[in-house]
Amino acid sequence: MAQYGGLGGLGGLGGLGGLGGLGGLGGLGGLGGQTGLGAFLGAEDPGGYSGATTAGLQITADGLRHLAGDGDTPAAGELAFNDPSNYGRWGQWVRGSLYITEMLNGLDWATASNPNAVTLRLEGADMVTLHRPTSEILTQQCQHVRDYADLRDERGAEIASQLGFPTEYFAMILGLHPAQHKKTFELITATQVIAAHMAMIVKHALAVRRPDQIDGRILPMIPTPGHGSFPSAHATEAYAVLTVMTQLVSTWDALNDSENRLKMLRGLAERIAVNRTVAGVHFPIDSWAGAALGTAIGNAILGRCGLATSTPSRTYTAMNSDFFDFDFTDTAIAKSHGLVEGTAFSAAQKPAFTWLWGEAAAETQKV
């Protein structure tokens, strides 16, 4: 019978490792690319060679150097100064630092009390204001989390394979392949890493308890992460990727069924967010806040990439709502759930993101 099948897909978590504690910021991830600081930040760092190779290279140098004679050192050809043409030279993890700092440059945040709220600002303009949900609403939301536990059986494989960035899920919908979409993957990863950073800023300030610390019957099926519940970083990342990829698919102009794929991409963002509620680690209102934050971040990244976007700022004051993308995307319905649009913000263009966007856009499969 159907309900007994379907969990065969639990393999495949092996790919999440791969950091090996290498260059730069790589060690910060700790969990090998699980969340936040991904495998991205160590990519393309060769690290050190083995002791035998290092010793062998020394001996080889001594043995071969005489063949090049003892003339003068030739003149150095200079690289272009502070020029985008150099971005492609750097390791991916180096560009990772550049993307993060380009985004942080101009980012600011402020907290308010009575009511408690945090506002993310970009270039001085408000992006997103999230009010701290009341403990009464959190208590009410626990019923939703318990209701969603009914879906754990069938969502188990998805939930376990979405502990880290669920890039594979986006890739399959858009037909991405590592050989053909290297920079597109880099753009997705940069978006996820930045979204995770920004989510952590807000989570720290708002300090909202996880559902399992309120109602013991929730018993999450995965470890509760070591940060606050509100907003959901998974929702933030998924909606940021959705926003960026929606624009890239349009720029590519390569998929004849792009309208349907974008519907599925939106459905995926919603599903990734909801899966965290099914797992028992997030309230539905965390998804609301994450979707609002992620959409703002996605638009900010598009601005950094040089795409003129003017996006309404949003303020979210949680009510006891279940989360549906249908409600989130309808401004009037969203307002009735406490998500209100305000004055628009935009993000200044920056060189590293502009370069990355051009590279990803060139990966169009249009013929």
Partner: protein
């Protein structure tokens, strides 16, 4: 908002609340089976009750399927198909009501009721239909038939080698593929009929390529959604069932079937399990039974001195299908029709049986019973838990006792907490009783709305004019099918208020069933099974203890009465499932109802299991083995669906030997040693789950034992 309909456009006047829900665009139609929701239909199927005469209407073309009626009795329920010439495609409840009004023929004295079913695909409508089977494609089997076994199911691999006789010719005498493309001439009203001569030729011409064979036979056709590519699957429900009751295979070698057993198979629309309401299938099911009886008679006629008056052959029909919510008293349209067929044929041939499973909902919290004690305070509340991400409609049926006068009773549905924008809906029996006598059953409807859009329908109707049913239908809990509405998931509260209605007697109970809403055949419906919640404080002690299967109490929610909703006809053989290794009932196996009398003694009520057969090998080897779709393939199936055909197999083997159908069956399954204490109630519970007989285990042949040890040593 549900727009008011003028009387002649009210489908509930001719049919029931399911039809109103499924065909009304404001209600459940967008979520119905794609053949209904995506486009209009011109060819419909239906049951007619209260008359078996179809009118002479120039605008509508009627077809009766082959009907078995050698005793020339008037039928209470008649399956028929119809096609409206006048109307363009019937899209909505209004159109369907218009057609039914014509069928009713303007005769005010005849007030037939209808159950409107799935439409027929235009490609499946036989252009020239001659109901008489002339057996032209039939060849005389090498061995004279002594009994017939029939299987009604989906995805039946009729050309599988498991169904060959010793000479390599098929034992599949007749096959009706109800949703295949129709040939230009046919003896079935829709779909395609194949006889053994054609199957032999198909097998011969396709060589070993069964994929080619089924495509040539029109049994695989992606252009017809109701048929589709199911026979390309490695395993189907129908393959397992047909193999278990009629096939010869190493997995079933313990009880081989001889060449003197011929097979009749009816393949229902493969998507028949799609709909979650029980709506839409009865005409196909009842036509299938009539077809089986009719063709069995045609086979007998080939061997009769007087072909018009043959001696009917022993016949065992396996029908592993059902749904969960219905009257459960044998008085639904389908059950009345099944009983009439069985009773009539038994007068001609006592060795006649229809074998059905008890269902798999025992431990799903899908049934509840409310007693007079529950209503002592004048009101009883229970919960109905809807799952998130349910992409199909959900249905709850509440049945009042037949003969009980519920004047004054009211039922209220409250949305889950936190949904203040949804007003609770209340239905009062008085309103339905006061409804104008417009030749429909007494009934009334209340719409449940969220933000001005319909999300639910609460109704009361006096089903078939003799028993009150309160039904709650709700739309999916996610936005789907392009709709801007959804029902809240979570716990809905249902309140039954007695008001000034008379109290229930000791023997009377209000019974609650949740309709099936999962996706057992992987049809991608997105259905999620809802369940009942008992608000009474203390859960029954030790309820799910693996060591003590029977508790000493009988609460509101109970598996007892969670019985296949179409299997309550008195003469049907109902098969429960047990685990072969432990000889204990499977945790899911449906059971008969129980009630307590005024002395606290447990009494059976409603239809009970007739016998138990193996449904699981062990806790770790779930299900039973049978054939897959392709010759040589194997599959496992878990559930009472697999137990029923094992019993049918043994019964037809007995019939062919002129033995009593249950020869070789043992007595009731023994009470487990761990069932303590063995009170009267515990004994009644055990009996309700196991029936009176136990079928021997069907499986691989047991290895012959060496005559003695010396044989091994030598």
């Amino acid at each position: 908002m549900y727009a008011p309909r003028p009387p002649h456009q009210q489908v509930d006047r001719y049919a029931g609340p399911y039809e109103r829900w499924v065909f009304s665009p404001e209600l459940g139609r967008p979520y119905a089976f794609p053949a209904i929701s995506n486009a209009g239909a011109t060819y419909f199927t239906a049951l007619l009750e209260g008359s078996d005469a179809l009118p002479d209407d120039p605008d509508t073309h009627y077809r009766l399927p082959p009907l078995w009626n050698p005793l020339n009795k008037s039928r209470a329920v008649t399956p028929f198909a119809f096609h409206s010439h006048a109307a363009s495609e019937a899209q909505t409840d209004r159109d369907v009501a218009g057609i039914l009004a014509n069928v009713r023929n303007g005769d005010d004295d005849v007030r037939p009721r209808f159950r409107v079913n799935f439409p027929v695909s235009p490609d499946s409508w036989t252009k020239t239909y001659h109901p008489h089977c002339d057996m032209d494609k039939w060849v005389v089997p090498g061995t004279r038939p002594k009994a017939i076994v029939a299987v009604i199911d989906d995805g039946i691999p009729f050309a599988h080698r498991a169904f060959l006789d010793a000479e390599g010719r098929t034992r599949m005498s007749h096959v009706w593929l109800q949703s295949a493309k129709a040939p230009s001439h046919g003896a079935v009203p829709f779909g395609r009929e194949l006889m053994n001569g054609e199957i032999n030729a198909l097998r011969h011409n396709a060589g070993d390529d069964e994929n080619l064979l089924y495509r040539r036979a029109g049994a695989i056709d992606p252009t017809i959604p109701e048929l589709g590519q199911h026979l390309k699957r490695q395993a189907t429900h129908g393959a397992h069932i047909a193999g278990t009751c009629a096939g010869n295979d190493s997995r079933l070698a313990s009880h081989p079937i001889g060449d003197e057993v011929q097979i009749i198979a009816v393949q229902l629309p493969n998507t028949i399990a799609w709909d979650t309401s029980g709506f839409g299938k009865e005409m196909y099911m009842l036509s299938a039974l009539h077809y089986v009886f009719d063709r069995a008679r045609a086979i007998a006629a080939k061997y009769a001195d007087d072909p018009d008056n043959p001696t009917e052959l022993p016949l065992v029909v396996n029908f592993s299908y059902g749904w969960s919510a219905s009257r459960h008293d044998g008085k639904s349209e389908m059950e009345l029709a099944i009983e009439a067929l069985l009773a009539d044929r038994k007068t001609l041939q006592p060795a006649t049986a229809i074998v059905m499973p008890t269902g798999n909902n025992f431990d799903q919290n899908m049934h509840g019973q409310i007693t007079k004690h529950d209503l002592q305070a004048g009101q009883f509340d229970f919960g109905w838990q809807l799952l998130p991400d349910d992409r199909t409609s959900s249905y709850l049926e509440i049945w009042l006792p037949e003969g009980y006068d519920p004047t004054g009773l009211s039922i209220t549905a409250h949305p889950p907490k936190g949904h203040d924008n949804i007003a609770p809906a209340t239905v009062k029996i008085n309103e339905a009783q006061a409804a104008a006598d417009d030749h429909g059953d007494p009934r009334c409807f209340h719409e449940i709305e969220a933000g001005g859009e319909n999300i639910g329908q609460l109704s009361a109707d006096k089903h078939r004019g003799n028993r009150w049913r309160i039904m709650l239908a709700l739309i999916p809990t996610v936005n789907t099918r392009g709709q801007s509405r959804r029902a809240p998931s979570g716990c809905w509260t249902i309140s039954i208020a007695q008001n000034d209605a008379p109290p229930l007697t000791q023997d009377e109970r209000i019974k609650v069933w949740v309709q099936r809403d999962d996706d057992p055949a992987s049809l991608q419906t997105g259905g999620k099974q809802s369940r009942l919640i008992d608000f009474s404080a203390a859960p029954a002690p030790g309820r799910r203890s693996p060591l003590n299967p029977y508790t000493s109490t009988l609460g509101f929610i109970r598996g007892y009465g969670a019985m296949n909703g179409v299997a309550s006809s008195g003469s049907v053989t109902r098969v429960a499932g047990h685990m072969a290794q432990t000889m204990t009932p499977c945790t899911y196996s449906g059971a008969g109802g129980l009630r307590l009398d005024s002395d606290g003694l447990a009494l059976p009520c409603g239809a009970h299991a007739s016998l138990s057969a193996v449904a699981d090998q062990s806790a770790f080897l779930a299900g039973t083995r049978s054939i897959g779709v392709r010759s040589g393939a194997g599959a496992r199936l878990q559930g009472t669906s697999g137990a029923s055909p094992a019993a049918a197999r043994l019964m037809v083997i007995n019939a062919a030997k002129a033995l009593p159908l249950m020869a070789g069956f043992q007595g009731p399954l023994a009470m487990p040693d761990s069932a303590m204490p063995t009170t009267d109630l515990v004994r009644a519970k055990h009996a309700a789950r196991t029936g009176s007989f136990t079928a021997p285990s069907v499986g691989r042949a047991t290895r012959p034992q060496p005559a003695n040890n010396t044989a091994l040593l030598s």
